[in-house]
Symmetry: C3
Subunit: 159 residues, 3 copies
């Protein structure tokens, strides 16, 4: 049976999410069974890149939705974001040096059977509904499902 790796993607920062994907695909390429658990700001990675979120029930969730537009192409850098300039520079550097952009990394992760789980509680707090998520998400789960998976995993990371 394949060994497991479970990665909590808490951050929604481009650089950290990139690291999460590099590790996830790297482990999957070694034959491991990998799960990425998207929670809090990490939800932005698996949110559709579109207008207002469907699940928003009050002005606070609408505002949260606006500040976290979602869509893998919009993630900021954790450092030197400089109103998006750092992000755009990082993307250009990745392209120049043949590092795949996040959208391709996500596709690659899917090809390697990396599982994508979205955190139910974070979705409730932020007013994100199922239809706000990209179709690559396998499951919407609570912390119990995460804890069960993590307990069986050889590698556990919080990013």
């Amino acid at each position: 049976m394949a060994e497991k790796a479970t990665i909590v993607v808490f951050s929604g920062d481009l650089d950290k999410v990139l690291a999460a994907f590099v590790i996830a695909t790297g482990c999957a390429a070694q034959g491991m069974e990998v799960t990425m658990f998207y929670t809090f700001w990490g939800l932005n990675v698996v949110k559709k890149d579109k207008g207002p979120i469907a699940g928003a029930k009050n002005w606070m969730q609408k505002m949260m939705g606006m500040m976290n537009r979602g869509g893998i192409s919009r993630l900021p850098l954790s450092k030197f974001n400089m109103a998006g300039m750092g992000r755009s520079m990082m993307k250009k550097l990745m392209k120049k040096t043949n590092v795949a952009p996040l959208s391709e990394m996500l596709a690659m992760a899917r090809d390697l059977d990396v599982k994508m789980w979205a955190c139910k509680m974070s979705m409730d707090v932020m007013g994100v509904a199922k239809e706000d998520l990209i179709p690559e998400v396998d499951k919407i789960v609570g912390v119990a499902a995460y804890a069960a998976e993590a307990q069986q995993s050889k590698i556990n990371l919080f990013i």
Copy 2:
């Protein structure tokens, strides 16, 4: 024998600490033996919500103490803190969606026998004395105790 989970709580940000508690109580609810090791800014979580710290021996530690007032209700958000507005909004959203506030999560963690360890070295550097900590803290330990516990743990996280 129960399997173990050890979580380093390095961050003192509301959202990250919330994630730490959700995971800690989630693992404990699955029957795991969980330890939370509070270090650096994470010390704020287990500091009493009161005035100047007792252990401060010089102006730098006093200033550190002022900037890290401590008390679980004062933690800022890691993103969009906006002078406390983000924090207050997050708290309201948690309430509206029936997510327990941090103070209740701490009590829940104690009920589930989650162990609370404070990092000795961080306390020394920041001038935090034993009497500055909340009574829920079981032990003040060095890194050796943490490393021994982590080595026996199935799940290790750094938050």
Copy 3:
């Protein structure tokens, strides 16, 4: 055979890197075989403290190099950096309370046979060449080498 611990050092912030070294040396002192994998901003920890980087091939990599001067003595704090004042205060507090500075921690880690690996992909993206790294770095590796090591490790952390 000694049990293993593998720490991804993603952050280049003084406080987080300090935590990484404390944990790495703590685990090594317990007899574990420890590897530190320096990636993204963490590369700054193992970059020489000198002028422009040799590997920079375009203005973006040069600018990245300037913003990430490197050298273990230059790392900022993740919080309250206040243009270096927080960092200098933290260093003074560490000195006053007999906590070893990072440069000594690095030497201590080497004495305890902690392995230092630099991430090839991050070096390529940021234009960091082999000659830009300090001699303490054992190896420049890809994610496959990291994943293989992590899979064998009892403790895995992402800092």
